[in-house]
Symmetry: none
């Protein structure tokens, strides 16, 4: 394919952004058809007389959003209208219609979903009404900028016991979801800094860093966690990691690797963002304290959420800032005011104080462990040597290497034909995405549907 | 309680001894409170992947030394007395005490407050419980990125009738407060653009634009609204205005000025942000349709909020994007996901559909009009020619020029001495702040306190 895009060097818009927009528009307008091979980075760079790095950033962004996929040893291909990760929730969830109406024909292994049957409605309802009747007057205050102190205190206590996090309530900032907190963090740390980013890693957070003109430095991940060689080579001023359950690989960062990372951060005066997005769901093995808990030099920013441990639609997340960032953190947060509804916060306070939250987590941990076992057993019994599971020890999703003649896109299409939604692994990668690996979340799928779904996958792939 | 202790299997110290030491230290440090229920032997053994016998030996030793007690049929409880700093800290925090306790001695004319007495609790409570029971299942979906379609539809309809805004629900984006929506908008419009900003104007929004490296161009405001000379001279790519009630001056932008501004925007291909922060509270005079409603060329971004018309702590705001910004707007918003809790949105749907919201606004409009009249009358009768009121025709605040030998800072200090909180006008100005003008919000003050407060101000200033 020959591409003659006109890039305007007089615009304030960076070239890679212009190129990204042009590609996207062309794909959406159907000028670049799905499956079309894109020019190599070297060739396109030459054609448009821009640097290969610019082309690379463009391709990375398009890949992160699911517009294109890279196939090993054959290059980049347009993949628009398949899975746009960032838009997938929207696509899956037309408003107001009961979920069942939309999904009755699908078995959807989307990793963003949680179990929808076992939520303790009556207890939540009680806390909600109770907090309204008890704290009604307080709903008229603007409330604490960082979040209600009582909730931040409960979070600090819980984090100490469950994750070994050492913090005072003043270090905890609540926000309506991790992305908002990351945005605040970017403004606290100011832009134009470099960030070492797990490759593969979480595309949404990466995009927010990019939007804030942070320089993303992809760092490979091995069985022990993010690779220290890459970090020591680049010495970024910030590192973003998911140690308790690497996203998407599912590995747990070893104690030794945690110590090395912390030692480096202390020496290099860099900060580490520890995203503990589903740390509650550890099923077995020796628990490893959080990086924040092991840190002796206040280099770690810990992030957590109630999305997995309670409800995604609650939109309650939190971050724990080191002392050196508190003042700036409070200043930036106060510009947005507290983004979590005061009543939702007070409901959570009630819910946690009554022990309902812990009860729920314990229940869900058992439930998800059972779902996970059923998933792994069924995969083993149905497909045996044909598939390899990655990251099955913890969390709510797995990556599955499928040994067949289908590539990632074909695996997903074949599954769709059987009424099963699974997701691509390649968008998580900025370099060398795997060719035949799919991404499976099991939290939102019933035990029966897990069994049925895997059988359908076998039918889709192995026949 | 979820416990993560790191047990070191390489030490010579037996595991039960390590566990015993860790428990003891935690109780002594106050991390495990007296009366807290400890995890069952079985659960803790599983969590730490050690034998139940090890846990049993630990618990027995702790019990022998009086750190924990066993209660029949209910398990083990910490029994070690220790003052928890976190909790004592919490005890003397105002944010979790009833507001009245903290403010009883103050008459606070803060402009961010709303009337705290007339909020329709029982109706809101009903909608809240009703929506939970009716839509419970939906709370498990991530929900529509832009906000629940049903709520966006109701907002679009209401905006058409109340403000003359023409839009489709697809153009409405919900967010947890205006600042978040402005942040999204900055990322939609990209940075390094110039923005014409009312001087005086709203400092919080200005800061958010500055944070996104937009170039702020202060434009003077006259009786008709923002001055066209300044705008035509600078031709900024974006203009931020508060036409229905200029903040802080309180003037209403004339029809003629609106037409000039729209004409300029169309010719210059610039966008206008119309911040309608308290447009519901117009008390008299010919209603002027919103800029968005008069606009023929899709140059206006309309912003509104439920903070004034319902509750600030709800954190529900919205913006209406022109078609040309929809795609990018949806893309950026999807990065943050929807920041308003799904249940809060569904509660609003119920509340609006039942007509409770309109009923509330009508009631509050009458109430605030009466408060405003009492404020103006009392100012007139108490201080007469000594003071000049600006922007008293609409909205929930006024600016007051005080003819005395005190400057702004002194006026505020003198008022404080009398137990009255009023606020400075100078922070709203980037150029030539007035020397003796104060800012007074009356929505959150009772009628009696308005009278008493003004009398105190007279005592503070005129004696």
């Amino acid at each position: 394919m020959d591409i003659t895009f006109f890039l305007n060097r007089n615009l304030d818009i960076p070239l890679y952004q212009q190129l990204y927009q042009l590609f996207k528009k062309n794909m959406q307008d159907g000028h670049i058809q799905k499956g079309v091979k894109l020019p190599s980075k070297r060739l396109l760079a030459a054609q448009l007389s821009i640097s290969q790095t610019t082309v690379e950033r463009t391709y990375e962004q398009l890949a992160a959003e699911g517009y294109i996929v890279s196939k090993p040893r054959s290059g980049w291909f347009a993949d628009y209208d398949e899975i746009d990760l960032i838009h997938s929730e929207m696509a899956n969830n037309p408003s107001i219609k009961p979920v069942t109406r939309e999904k009755e024909n699908w078995i959807d292994f989307h990793y963003g979903n949680v179990d929808s049957v076992h939520f303790p409605f009556s207890a939540w309802r009680k806390s909600m009404v109770g907090s309204l009747d008890q704290y009604g007057q307080q709903l008229h205050r603007p409330g604490d900028i960082l979040g209600e102190l009582e909730l931040r205190t409960l979070i600090a206590e819980n984090l100490y016991h469950s994750r070994g996090v050492h913090c005072r309530p003043e270090q905890v900032i609540l926000g309506a979801g991790n992305p908002i907190l990351l945005q605040i963090l970017c403004q606290v740390l100011r832009r134009d800094i470099s960030i070492g980013y797990e490759d593969p890693g979480f595309p949404r957070s990466r995009k927010i860093f990019e939007m804030n003109s942070m320089k993303i430095i992809p760092i490979p991940v091995d069985e022990e966690g993010i690779c220290m060689d890459g970090i020591r080579k680049e010495n970024p001023s910030l590192v973003y990691v998911t140690p308790s359950h690497q996203f998407p690989l599912g590995t747990v960062m070893t104690f030794d690797r945690r110590r090395q990372l912390l030692k480096w951060a202390a020496e290099n005066q860099s900060f580490i963002i520890e995203d503990d997005y589903d740390g509650e769901y550890r099923y077995s093995g020796q628990p490893i304290p959080s990086l924040q808990g092991l840190d002796q030099h206040e280099r770690v920013i810990f992030m957590g959420t109630f999305s997995k441990s309670l409800l995604p639609s609650l939109r309650v997340s939190y971050m724990v800032l080191p002392s050196s960032l508190l003042e700036k953190g409070r200043e930036i947060t106060s510009l947005y005011k507290q983004t979590v509804s005061c009543h939702v916060q007070l409901t959570l306070v009630e819910f946690i104080k009554k022990g309902e939250w812990q009860k729920h987590i314990n229940k869900m941990r058992k439930l998800y462990q059972r779902k996970r076992e059923i998933l792994l057993e069924t995969l083993q019994s149905e497909m045996g040597e044909q598939v390899k599971v990655r990251g099955g020890d913890t969390g709510l999703h797995i990556m599955l290497d499928v040994n067949s003649h289908f590539n990632e896109k074909e695996l997903i299409e074949k599954a769709k034909e059987q009424g099963v939604k699974i997701y691509p692994a390649s968008p998580f990668y900025t370099k060398q995405p795997p060719g035949n690996t799919v991404f499976i979340g099991f939290a939102g799928v019933s035990e029966a549907d897990i069994r049925a779904g895997i059988k359908k996958l076998k039918a889709a792939w192995m026949n």
